[in-house]
Assembly symmetry: C4
C-alpha cells in the first residue's frame, strides 16, 4: 500500500479513484458510475414508451446529454491514468466503454437509426465492471468455472436437442395442416422448440389427433431431458465445491494494476502478479 | 416442568395455553386458532367473488366480526401473559397479529378501501406460528439454512438473468414490430422473462422469422440455465445433509419462554437457553 | 418349489395361475389380463369421442360385456383361491378389482350416470398389479423409498408454495382490473399457480405495467424455487444409492403367498416371510 | 499406421478418405460432406416455405440434384472400399446413407408425395457420423452410458406419469364441459399432459371453479415430479463421474476398420480390437 505513490502525481490519484474500490473516493466514484449506468438504461426504456417520449422528450434528451458527457470524461480519464492506454482501449471493457459513450454523438451523424438504440443497450454490460465486491466475484468465478467445465457436455446436449427439433419439426409439418399454423418447416421447428423447452405459447397448436399425439411425446421428451443439463451442472458444481475445500484460500482485494490493468490481487500483495509492477 | 408455576397464577396458565402446544388446552387453542385463520382467509376469498358477496354479504360480515373479536381478545391475552409485552408487540409475529386484527375496525374509519383487503391477506402468515410441529420446524430450518448458504450464488444468478433479459428484451424490441405486441422495451423485457422462465403465456409472441429465431435462442437458454439454481441448491442440500449426520441431535419441544418468547427449547431443558428464565 | 402342492388340488393350481408369473400358465394369464385392462381403458376413451360412440355403439358395448364377464370370473376366482378371502377383498387391490368389475352392472341400476365413467377409469390402477417384473419392482421401490424419505421436506415446500400463491394472488387481484381476467381472489390464485409453476396458459394475463412487473417477480420466483424439490429428491436418491451399495442383495421372485397374499419372496425361500406358510 | 497399406491400392486410399478423419484428405472430405448435409437440410426447409419455393424452384431443384449425385457417388464409394459391403449396407449408417440418397430418384417414380419429404429429413442423422471429434464422442458416450444406466428408473417414471395423465384426464373430462375444449377423454388427456409437463398452450383451459382447482393440483404435481427424472439422472452422472476417475484412460482416434467398420480404436493400436484386421 505504501509503495502506491511510485507512479506519482495526479495520474496515480486518478487511477486509484477510477479503477479501485477500497479508498473512500474510489467507492464514491463507483457508486456514482453505478447510478449513472442504471439511469442510462432506464432512459433507454422510457424513451421506447411512446406516451413518455412524447410528453418528456426534452427532459430525457437533457439527461442523455448529462450521461454522455460524464461517460466521455470518464473514458478520457481512464485512457490517461493507465500506463499502457492501447491495452485498455482494445480490452473488452475498453470497447464497451467506448461503445457506451458514442450513441448520442452518432445520432447527429446518422439520422434517427434504430441501431443506435441497440448500441446503447450495451451500456448495461458496464455494470459488470462495478461489481467489484470480492464476495460476488468469488461466487461468480466458481459458477463460471463449473459452467466452463461442463461446456462440452452441454454443447453435445444442445446439439442433440437441435437435431431432435429439426426431425420432430419436419414430422409435425407433414402431420399437421397449414390451418393449425404449421405453414413451413422452419415454423414447425420453431413450434417444436417452443414445446420441447416447455414454454408453450399456444400461438401454434396441433389440431389433429395424430398431431396432438406427437405433441404429447415431444412434451414428455422435453420434460424428461431437462434432467440432462441439470445433472451435468449439478455434478460439476459438486466437484468444484470439493476442490474449493481442498485448496488454500486467500483474500483478494479490488486493486487494479496501473501498468497492465490486471485485477484480483492478493490483499497482502505488494507487486502485480501479472507484470511485477509495484501496487 | 415442575418449576413452571414460578410465574404463578392465571397469567402463567394463559401463557401455557396460548404459546405452547404440548398441554391439552394448548393444543385445543392452537387448533381453534388454526381453524379461525383458515376461515378468515376463506372469507376474504369468498367476498372477492361478486355473486357470493351479493347473496351472502350479511353472513360474511357476521363471520368477519366473530374472527375480529377472537383475534382482538387473543392479541390482548398475548400481551398480558408475556413478561416483556413490548418485546412481543414489536416482534415479527406481534406485528402480524396486530395487522391481522385491525382491518375491520379500520373499515369504519377509512371508507371501503382496497388496501384493507391486502392487509387482511397477511393473516395467512399467522399460520406459520401454529405449525409448531417439531418435525416440520426441523425440516424447514434445514431447507432454510441450505437456501441461506446458497443466497449469494443465487443472487449472482438472478442478476445475470435480469441483465440477460434487459439485453435480449431490447434486441427483440428492435427486431419485432409493434403489431406483435413488442410496443416498448419494458414490455419486450416482460416478454423475454416470460420466455426465459419457460412460462410462455402467448399474449405477446414474435411474428417475424428473425424474431422467432431469437425467441428460439432465448428458450433454449432458459431451458438450459435452470440447471444453475438447481445445481447450486442440490449441492447445498447435500452439504447440509452431511453436516446433519455428524452433529448430535436433541429433541426439541414446543415450549415458549415466558420472559423472552424464545422457542425451540430442548425437551429436557429446565431453563430458557436465551435468558435463563426457568421454564 | 416342490412343496408347492401342499394347499393341494385345483385351488392351488388356480392360485398359481392368477397370482404368480413364473409358470407358463401364470404368464399367459398375466398377458391376457394386461391386454384386457388396456382394452377396457381404450374402450372408455373411444366411447367419450362422440363420432366413434354414435357409429360403433353396438361393438363397444359388446366388448364392454366381454371385459366385464372376464373381470367378474377373475374376481370370483381370486376370492376362491386364497385361504383368507376377506383379507384379499378388503386389500387395496381387492377393492380396485371389485370397483373395476361393477360399472356395467351398475349402469342398469343407475340411469346413464357420468360417475360410472370415472369408476371405470380406476381399472387402469389394475395395471400396477401385472407389472410383477422383478426388475421394475426393484427400481420402483427404490424410487418410492426415496420419495417417502423426502415426504416431509416436500410437504413443507408445497405448503410454502401454497401460502405464497395465496398472498401473491391476492396482491395481483388488488393490482389488476377485472378486464384482464382477475375477477376474484380464487381466480387470481389460480393464475398465480399457473405462473409460478411456469405452465402459463395465457387465458388470464396481466395488462397493467405494475401487474406485469409483479408477474415477472412471480415467474423468476417460480423458475428459481423449482430447484428446491429437485435438490431434495436428488440428495435423497443419492443417499438411497449409497445405502443400496452397502446392503447385501437377494433375488426376489413373483410368487405370492397362498395364505396372506404377501409378495416379494426370496427366490430360494421355502416359507412365506410373513406368515410362515410353505410356498 | 505403417501397416495401413496392406489392403493396398486405390480402395485402401478411398477407405482412408471416406471413413477416417486424421489424414488431410480425410478431413477435407468430412468437411465437404458436413457442408452438403447441412445444405440438403436447409434446402428441405426452404422448399417448405411457399414464397421461396415459388420464386426459386429452379435453383432449389438444381442444388438438390447436386447433393443427390454427390450422395450417390459417396454411397457407391463406401460400398466399394469396405471389405464386407453387406455388413455396411445393413448397418445403421448404411441404411441412413441409402435413405438419404434416394428421395429425388423416388420422386420421379411416385408423384409428388409428402412422404418423400419426411425421408429426406433422415439426412440430418448423417451429421452424427461426421462428428468424429474424439472429445465430443468421449463426452457423448459418458452421457449415453449414464442415461442407459437410468433407463429402467426413467421408464418406471414415464409409466407412472402416463397412468396419472389418463386418470387425471378422465377426471377433467367428467368435471369440465365441452365448451372449455374437453370434448373427449383423449383430448382431456392431451390437455393433462400439456399441463403436467408445464408446457401450457392455453388452447384448452378449464373454465369451472372445480376444473381450475384440479388443474392447480395437476400443475403443482407436474412442477414437483420433474424432480424425479432430474434426481435419477444427476445421481447416475455423479456415479459415472466417479467411475471415470478410477479407470485408466486411453486416447482414441477416428480410424475405422477396413474389414468390420468398427470404430473407437486406441491411438497406439495396430490391429482392430473387433476382428483382428491390421489397421
Amino acid at each position: 500500500m505504501k509503495e502506491h505513490k511510485i507512479h506519482s502525481g495526479w495520474k496515480s490519484k486518478l487511477h486509484e479513484i477510477i479503477y479501485e474500490a477500497d479508498t473512500p473516493s474510489g467507492k464514491v466514484f463507483d457508486i456514482l458510475l453505478f447510478v449513472l449506468i442504471i439511469l442510462s438504461v432506464v432512459l433507454i426504456m422510457l424513451e421506447s414508451i411512446k406516451e413518455v417520449d412524447q410528453n418528456y422528450h426534452g427532459i430525457l434528451l437533457a439527461l442523455e446529454w448529462v450521461i454522455t458527457i460524464f461517460f466521455s470524461f470518464e473514458y478520457i480519464a481512464r485512457i490517461i491514468s493507465v500506463k499502457k492506454p492501447w491495452k485498455y482501449i482494445l480490452s473488452f471493457y475498453g470497447i464497451i466503454d467506448f461503445v457506451s459513450t458514442i450513441p448520442l454523438y452518432l445520432s447527429y451523424l446518422l439520422a434517427g437509426s434504430q441501431v443506435l438504440l441497440a448500441v446503447r443497450a450495451f451500456r448495461l454490460l458496464r455494470i459488470f465492471r462495478i461489481l467489484k465486491l470480492v464476495k460476488f466475484i468469488g461466487e461468480a468465478s466458481q459458477l463460471q468455472s463449473a459452467l466452463r467445465a461442463s461446456r462440452t457436455k452441454i454443447a453435445v446436449f444442445i446439439y442433440v436437442v437441435l437435431i431432435l427439433s429439426v426431425i420432430l419439426g419436419t414430422l409435425m409439418y407433414i402431420v399437421e395442416s397449414d390451418e393449425a399454423g404449421f405453414t413451413s418447416i422452419p415454423r414447425s421447428i420453431y413450434w417444436t422448440i417452443v414445446t420441447l423447452t416447455t414454454v408453450g405459447y399456444g400461438d401454434i397448436a396441433p389440431q389433429t389427433a395424430l398431431g396432438q399425439f406427437f405433441a404429447t411425446i415431444i412434451m414428455i421428451l422435453g420434460y424428461g431431458i431437462i434432467a440432462v443439463p441439470t445433472g451435468i451442472v449439478t455434478v460439476e458444481f459438486s466437484k468444484q465445491n470439493k476442490v474449493k475445500q481442498h485448496i488454500p484460500h486467500v483474500d483478494i482485494n479490488t486493486q487494479c494494476c496501473v501498468n497492465c490493468t490486471a485485477e484480483g490481487h492478493r490483499d497482502d500483495a505488494s507487486h502485480c502478479y501479472n507484470c511485477g509492477e509495484p501496487l
